[in-house]
């Protein structure tokens, strides 16, 4: 009797429980191995090839020599490129995303649910190469005819990215607005405030931490996007000369060069260091989001 019940417990409970637990722990294992492998490759620029971490972050001279012996690895150009483009995209998307989130929740929930919500899902679903392709075939010629120059520019990258991160900011801001207690809004209306006054004075302050989370996530997505940006910014190894100049980002440079480079050479190690840098940047974004979340809870 006892034996059979053990056997049936194994069959009915333990196998399933063990499977689920392994899947859960596997996520930890995966994350740690990603960090381990990227770090072990990325750090060899500093350990094996003897470049200083300081100059890797603050120097702007990027010189690739064929053998890799006299190469200078100062990826400040790419860091600057990534930052300008990501921040530019966030500057365009944030006001628009907040406006959409307000519209979906305060002005017309019906249109929001029936039209805007599905539109946002479609925006997310459009592949980044298609964004890049439209960037080249439509946006670049438009910029060229409006502002002169060659059209391929940091500005094109900013505009493409701003469309790509709009759904992130909108949906997270909208979730934040949804969780605001109805009492706040009704109290504000009760005091005689108009809808717009309620939006400005009550809704936005109350949803502040949610909106900031959305902005940081948008920034993270903008930093990590590679192909759409790579297709429209020109990939010149230079600081952008103004917003219409060409430049490179961390991701675009990696995309362009990893394929041709030979494993184990200093030039290749430097690419892995850039990947490590991207990993560290995405950690920083997660930390910021956690801090914002904690602050929001305390309130």
């Amino acid at each position: 009797m006892n034996k059979r019940s053990l056997a049936s417990r194994i069959k009915n409970e333990y196998i399933g429980k063990a499977y689920a637990t392994i899947c859960g722990l596997f996520i930890i294992f995966l994350t740690l191995s990603i960090i381990f492998f990227i770090a072990s490759k990325g750090l060899s620029t500093f350990i094996k090839d003897g470049h200083s971490i300081y100059s890797f972050i603050f120097s702007g001279t990027w010189k690739i020599d064929d053998m890799g012996v006299n190469s200078k690895f100062g990826p400040l150009i790419f860091i600057t490129g990534s930052t300008i483009i990501a921040i530019g995209a966030v500057i365009i998307s944030t006001p628009l995303g907040i406006a959409l989130a307000i519209f979906m929740n305060m002005i017309s929930p019906k249109l929001g649910e029936k039209i805007l919500q599905p539109s946002m899902e479609l925006f997310v679903g459009i592949p980044s190469v298609v964004y890049g392709w439209i960037g080249i075939s439509v946006l670049v010629p438009v910029i060229k005819s409006l502002f002169g120059g060659i059209g391929i520019s940091a500005l094109a990258g900013i505009i493409v990215l701003s469309v790509m991160i709009l759904p992130t900011i909108t949906s997270i801001a909208s979730d934040a607005i949804k969780t605001i207690p109805k009492d706040y809004i009704e109290a504000s209306y009760g005091l005689g405030a108009t809808r717009w006054q309620t939006i400005i004075r009550v809704i936005i302050p109350a949803a502040k931490s949610g909106i900031s989370t959305g902005v940081v996530l948008g920034l993270a997505r903008a930093f990590g996007e590679s192909l759409a940006v790579q297709m429209v910014i020109g990939n010149s190894i230079s600081f952008p000369k103004g917003i219409l100049g060409t430049t490179s980002t961390l991701t675009s440079y990696l995309t362009m060069n990893m394929g041709d480079s030979v494993f184990g050479t200093p030039n290749n190690d430097a690419l892995w260091s850039m990947a490590l840098l991207l990993l560290v940047i995405s950690f920083i974004f997660i930390l910021i989001i956690r801090v914002i979340g904690k602050r929001g809870e305390v309130k």
Partner: protein
């Protein structure tokens, strides 16, 4: 200006902004479909590509995208649903749970190129598989695991409230309850999540360039081997997908009709994304109906 008229103006501005965004989306999709419409024919979608002359198709890439999607789903779904079950039913609030959450957050915000490079290092180089379908599928599995875990966790949590006590009270074990009662109820919602992420997998390129590679061999469908180098179903051959092909056609510029090919391939990609999105919507609506009994 009175606060009443300010309110009116603000409302109008918000309406205009929302309309503009919807208009942008509609014209975006309309433009792609219009531009690619001349290529939406049998010869283009199923034909072989040409390397330096005009008139090539996208047949092998189209097949590759689907095959890669299927292999990825076979890997991702059991893992994601398992992890979702663990988080929703077995894990206790505390240290392990927090670490898993942090890991999920980390994985979901990893740039896809970083995941691609990890794949290059581990699945292409260390494993000695070379650029291969399996390397690509594993890389996108990593990319999508976090979102699928979240979707399944939420679905299972929503489905388990109420029915759990009843089932355990009737003498079922916790796993039996999950397997026979909760999971079937949660399945439609999980399915919606799976279909939506299928759309993303279908369009992913950055993580694939350095794992599945950007070349494809001529496919031989008469061989049904998972290992053989020449079989269309081989897991170990370079597998250029449609999204990667669009990128390559643009960056290499070898094709005289690159614009036409890119337009056509974009239209096919967008059509697939639309199909995935609408089917997810329809399934979502069905669930809502069956749960609430409303029309």
């Amino acid at each position: 200006m009175s606060s009443k008229s300010k309110d009116k103006i603000a409302t109008i501005v918000l309406y205009i902004l929302s309309l503009l965004v919807v208009f942008l989306l509609v014209s975006f999709i309309g433009y792609i479909l219009y531009k690619g419409s001349s290529s939406l024919n049998f010869k283009f979608i199923f034909g072989n590509p040409k390397s330096s002359e005009a008139g090539g198709g996208i047949g092998p890439m189209f097949f590759n995208s689907f095959y890669l999607l299927i292999v990825t789903l076979i890997l991702t779904v059991p893992l994601g649903v398992g992890a979702g079950i663990y988080l929703a039913e077995y894990a206790k609030e505390g240290k392990v749970m927090n670490i898993i959450r942090l890991c999920i957050d980390t994985m979901s915000s990893l740039p896809s190129i970083v995941v691609g490079l990890f794949g290059l290092l581990v699945f292409v180089q260390l494993s000695k598989w070379g650029y291969s379908l399996i390397a690509g599928a594993l890389a996108i599995t990593i990319l999508n695991l976090s979102s699928l875990t979240r979707v399944s966790e939420n679905a299972i949590r929503a489905a388990s409230s109420g029915v759990k006590e009843a089932s355990v009270g009737l003498g079922a074990t916790q796993w039996q309850t999950i397997w026979k009662v909760i999971l079937p109820t949660a399945m439609p919602q999980i399915l919606t999540g799976v279909i939506l992420s299928s759309g993303r997998i279908f369009g992913e390129a950055a993580a694939l360039i350095f794992t599945a590679g950007s070349s494809t061999s001529i496919l031989h469908f008469n061989e049904l081997s998972l290992i053989g180098k020449h079989s269309a179903f081989s897991l170990f051959r370079p597998t250029e997908t449609l999204a990667v092909y669009i990128w390559k056609v643009n960056s290499e510029g070898m094709l005289p009709d690159a614009t036409k090919v890119a337009n056509g391939a974009s239209a096919v990609l967008i059509l697939m994304v639309l199909i995935f999105n609408f089917s997810a919507r329809i399934i979502g609506r069905r669930i809502h109906r069956s749960f609430t009994g409303s029309k």
